[in-house]
Symmetry: C2
Subunit: 343 residues, 2 copies
Amino acid sequence: MRFVIAAGTTRTAAIEGISAAGGDADVMRHTPSADVEIVEYGRPVCAPVVPVSPSGCPTPAVVTRAVRKRLKFDTLLLDAGLAMPTAAPTVNVADPGHDLRDPEPVPEADATVDAARELGRTLPDREVVIGESIPGGTTTALGVLRALGEPYDVSSSLAENPLPLKRDVVSDGLDASGVSAGDAAGKPLLAIRRMGDPVLAAVFGLAAGAASQGADVTLAGGTQMIAAAALLRHADVEGPIRVATTAFVAADREADLRRAATNLDLSLAVTDPGFDQASGTAFARYRDGEAKEGVGMGGALWLAERHGVPMGDVRDGMHEILERLSVGSYRDPVGTGSGEEPG
Amino acid sequence: MRFVIAAGTTRTAAIEGISAAGGDADVMRHTPSADVEIVEYGRPVCAPVVPVSPSGCPTPAVVTRAVRKRLKFDTLLLDAGLAMPTAAPTVNVADPGHDLRDPEPVPEADATVDAARELGRTLPDREVVIGESIPGGTTTALGVLRALGEPYDVSSSLAENPLPLKRDVVSDGLDASGVSAGDAAGKPLLAIRRMGDPVLAAVFGLAAGAASQGADVTLAGGTQMIAAAALLRHADVEGPIRVATTAFVAADREADLRRAATNLDLSLAVTDPGFDQASGTAFARYRDGEAKEGVGMGGALWLAERHGVPMGDVRDGMHEILERLSVGSYRDPVGTGSGEEPG
């Protein structure tokens, strides 16, 4: 099993009010670079920030790291458009994406999909789990769903989902791209190039390549992975696709998770990390509906459950990481950790 | 503990007769890209070759992979001048090096050392083991040693060390660079820029950075790592430095391993993988004096010994990998493997 994380950025994330992934837009540009460092090393190394929302909700990279530390699974980190340097080893498959309201927000979509597909096709693993880190990613996911003609709404990393704003951005994007809702049905590359982001290009390509060699494919995430799964179905990938996500996304009434899973013939794995049994601001923010998913969190939790790791152990692991990152008190929403990881 | 491998290329490797790392010059350009894929995935993924010498000696990446498979240590692969694409995730710190006989074979030496030093300084690990993969690397190591004024001779991946040829190349390089032997004493950056290679720049920088934060540093390799250690001593790094290498390098009478280790105040760990107790062409070629080291082999063997892994298990692991790579029979010195790795 290999745990893949496609990490990237777009200018879409800079739209005021779109994302909670890391606070303000300047800090947010570092979020995916910091996320992959946290998964790889347990803390930011080269990235100058710990991604924490203004209210003190830490990045779900902490959850994925806690599980990885326990299960020691292999990782493959994809630079699918990072805007800032990272000290985590990556395979580069894309440049940053533009604004969804541009005519072509992912001009190199075809090349990214090709590179990722070839990688997925040649990986030696019989099972891949694919997560993502991209601020503003649910908005571009909504763009892709609309371009494909899929009616589902998306979730949010904010407790209050700014769906009206996302719909406006998508509507402007469709106008600018000269694409009407449904025009890209059966044309996943068109949907990504005109209405997507480079991370969706990478996830779609990698999943398609892995599926083509018979690997078991799990998309680890919420409604962004619904968009990735829709792209796969519109590319006539007919085999089984699993979406592994968190109870927080499943509980989001605005997101059409279950309906989409049924209609797209996806098997759905929902895992509850039991954050109601933990104290501390981090867990409280998740209970409030912040973050919900990201950086493969749902997939990591599903793997933990599958391997018999109690959720209490996952939460303990998170506690350790958060303390080392000095976000235990959450008084300093954006700080740089410097502690060492034991063992 | 983190196992780092700096992988790169130079035009020096294209000089006829310099290296055995992968057969002819065209194939050799792929060797480091394939090596890091073998360490990461157990077989080449994107690289179109399995590095095997014309006589059937497989890359020591197979040994490092066999130990990694067993110990599951963390890795950090550095693109220190890869000429060909790789599907292994890397942090890029350098472009390929030029010919040692050019005036400045590593024009960006300072930037590479800076980037690698910063990475080494910020890594969370209390212990780093650093290996290399660079065809022609002992020749550039000899160049660095001469520029620093260090008198030691180097080993070779060939059973018959072409030392006279290496000395000629180094002599031409010194002339072209306007550097006399010893001119770069106390000036490691000058030695690398005018007479080195990008992998030595990366190893030197990473080791210096890691040492500066108090990490335990092991240079995993033969005489190339003697050159890296000399660079560290010439940069006034005074703490303990370990060189972990194989019994094959230690048995090489032309290489001044022990004398250099004593004079440079290095602790030397020599591990014998017991290839005399294994049958098959791969092991026979090593016994004949081919390859000897590379891709961190000596460091991997040292870690195996330290963790109580019997050398018989390492050899069994190698057998498995070699069979999967279809180089078990060694009838096809350069082939592409396609098998899956179990577990």
